[in-house]
């Protein structure tokens, strides 16, 4: 298969059945083309499957691909469309699903040896809503084991490579979903965000990722990591596409006790309103300066100027407790992990070792967990066990919960002076594979800007802000908005996209180096 043409042309030209144009088109354009009878879902799905076949040996975005099931779903949508049925706004569009979502009949591994080969007996609410909307499930994407990581390197099945530079990480934990978008393997993907797992990969791959308000999307059927922080959300190449997927997956679900029984914020409408007149944005003063790559700072400042150009008033806002967010997160998150991952006890599902009649249940558990969990999972389970243990609980977990209160208060104070906060999504561009694996603390620093939003449960997203001049790698701008004001995240994101694409003459991904024949053989 040939390399996709520049998205610059495909975004404006009509979609044809040629393959390349299909791959680089937005979901919005694909649906318009299907509605106009110019292309079928089967053709789109086949183009994505061919592309995965052609480049995934280099990128390793996918852990599972089910071509047969995907094409069956595509045929069904095509026949329903042909019969004149009224279909949803994403019907027939292929979707890549982070391998943390259960999907009945498909292997779900959480990228862990513990769950290798485990077939989900039921489907998560978010994936079910996508299926009900007529979307085509291509397969499951790679992630850090149990979504613990910032680089997708802790996957038991090997790292995902950043399509911008195959020797670099795509961010994590949802590196597979973001890489699948940047490598034009799928037009849309699902992620989950506990401390930045949607936003960080979006920033490092030049794509869009949104973490909805906590409780805005259902966690039912999503493998739990840190339940008070985990939140499913959309990953896309354009802001409007992300909003359409958000609209499909969001909304109250009685199967999730923390689901908010409220209407979904008007995210799709928010994307159409691309001027920011009357909107006041706050630049978080603490999320800049030392430790931030020069190119990140430069592109962020230019993006701020672009937002001003779109009519926003921009002020500086101090959030004094954000500096303690990382510490609080890496106590609360491991504490919840140590509890949630206790379910992998080798009794009802997952890996079981040493079950030979000689070893007791407890010994079987310890041997299975020792072999089934990777280094990062063990690190966090033990850290969490420590933080929750008697004598240390007050100093660690108890203090972290208080910091969580202080962070929420910082946000509340900010909302009194501005409508949304902005910052770089992460301090640096994508680092090299292996560069931080022996230094967990350096790895955790990647989450510095993204974590406060999770601790406070607010809506947030990352949007492309350009390429850092020093290394030519993508930089992201993060938008944070109050609880249930997800629409503001999209409004700012859409305005930024419109301003910057006008300046660039097309989307950022138009300048991604080609994958395929020219790339190195078998970089894995």
């Amino acid at each position: 298969m040939s390399e996709p043409q520049s998205p610059r042309t495909s975004m404006t030209d009509a979609v044809t059945t040629g393959g390349a144009e299909i791959l680089t088109s937005s979901a919005t354009d694909l649906v318009a083309a299907m509605e106009a009878g110019q292309v079928s879902s089967v053709e789109i799905t086949q183009a994505c499957l061919d592309r995965i076949e052609a480049v995934d040996r280099q990128v390793h975005a996918f852990l599972t691909v089910d071509a047969e099931r995907a094409l069956r779903q595509a045929r069904e949508v095509d026949s329903r469309r042909a019969a004149g049925q009224r279909l949803g706004p994403l019907a027939g569009v292929p979707l890549a699903v982070k391998d943390l979502f259960c999907y009945q009949g498909m292997v779900t591994t959480a990228a862990s040896r513990m769950l290798a080969g485990w077939v989900s007996p039921y489907t998560s609410t978010v994936v079910q809503r996508c299926v009900d909307a007529g979307m085509v499930i291509l397969g499951k994407t790679n992630l850090d084991e149990f979504a613990m990581g910032s680089s997708t390197e802790t996957s038991a099945f090997g790292p995902t490579h950043n399509p911008w530079d195959l020797e670099r990480i795509p961010g994590g934990s949802g590196g597979g979903s973001a890489a699948a978008l940047a490598a034009f393997q799928a037009p849309l993907a699902l992620g989950t965000d506990t401390g930045g797992s949607i936003r960080l990969p979006a920033a490092l791959t030049g794509t869009v990722g949104v973490k909805p308000t906590y409780g805005g999307t259902s966690r039912y059927g999503v493998i739990a990591m840190a339940s008070s922080l985990d939140q499913p959300g959309p990953c896309a190449r354009t802001v409007a596409d992300a909003a359409l997927l958000h609209q499909v997956i969001a909304g109250y679900d009685p199967m999730d006790q923390t689901s908010i029984p409220r209407d979904v914020p008007p995210v799709v409408e928010a994307c159409r309103q691309i001027d920011l007149a009357g909107m006041r944005l706050g630049v978080v003063t603490g999320l800049s300066g030392q430790g931030y790559a020069p190119g990140v700072t430069q592109r962020f400042e230019e993006a701020v100027a672009a937002l001003r150009g779109a009519g926003a008033e921009v002020i500086e806002v101090s959030c004094p407790h954000f500096e303690h967010a990382l510490g609080a997160y890496y106590l609360i998150q491991p504490a919840e992990v140590s509890s949630n991952l206790a379910r992998y006890d080798a009794m009802r599902y997952g890996l079981r070792l040493d079950d030979d009649g000689e070893h007791s249940a407890e010994q079987v558990m310890a041997a299975s967990r020792g072999a089934g969990f990777g280094a990062e999972a063990k690190r966090r389970i033990i850290l969490g066990t420590y933080a929750l243990s008697s004598g240390y609980y007050d100093a660690y977990y108890g203090s972290a919960q208080k910091v969580r209160t202080l962070i929420s208060r910082d946000f509340e104070a900010a909302w009194a002076t501005c409508d949304a906060l902005i910052s770089p999504t992460t301090p640096t561009t994508a680092f090299r594979i292996g560069e931080r694996t022996d230094d967990p603390l350096a790895m955790y620093q990647a989450d510095l800007c993204t974590i406060p939003a999770n601790l406070a449960g607010i809506a947030t997203g990352s949007f492309p802000a350009g390429l850092a001049p020093e290394d030519g790698l993508p930089v992201g701008l993060q938008v944070m908005a109050p609880v249930l004001c997800d629409d503001r995240v999209y409004r700012v994101g859409a305005a930024l996209e419109a301003q910057l694409e006008a300046a660039w003459g097309g989307p950022l991904l138009a300048s991604i180096p080609p994958l395929g024949a020219a790339a190195k053989e078998d970089v894995r």
Binding site: S259, M347, R352, A367, K378, S389, L441, V483
Partner: protein, 99 residues
């Protein structure tokens, strides 16, 4: 404060994780560095600040206590490491104290 390898083994035991000697040797100093870095939370966590366990002020969600169809046993057991007579087959648990 230093986290000793013995302490790491004890914590791993509480978490039911068997560690190799190499893993223990690697984890102890790493966890120490992480704990040092996160310990700063206690500096700002003063007595007058209430803890937050959850970001949203949601109340407990209840549903009607009604019998509904559940997953058939065969499906629930399909991925079990071992199953017998429509049940999960587990290793012995009763004489663990005798080990």
């Amino acid at each position: 404060m230093a986290l000793t390898p013995d302490e790491v083994v004890r914590l791993a035991g509480l978490a039911r994780i068997e560690l190799t000697a190499e893993e223990t040797a690697m984890l102890a100093p790493q966890l120490d560095v992480i704990l040092d870095a996160v310990a700063t939370v206690s500096e700002v966590a003063t007595d007058d600040v209430p803890p937050t366990s959850h970001a949203l002020p949601l109340v407990n969600a209840f549903r009607a206590d009604r019998v509904r169809p559940s997953m058939p046993a065969a499906e629930a057991l399909a991925m079990a490491p071992r199953a017998e007579q429509s049940r999960f087959r587990v290793p012995r648990i009763l004489d663990e104290g005798a080990q």
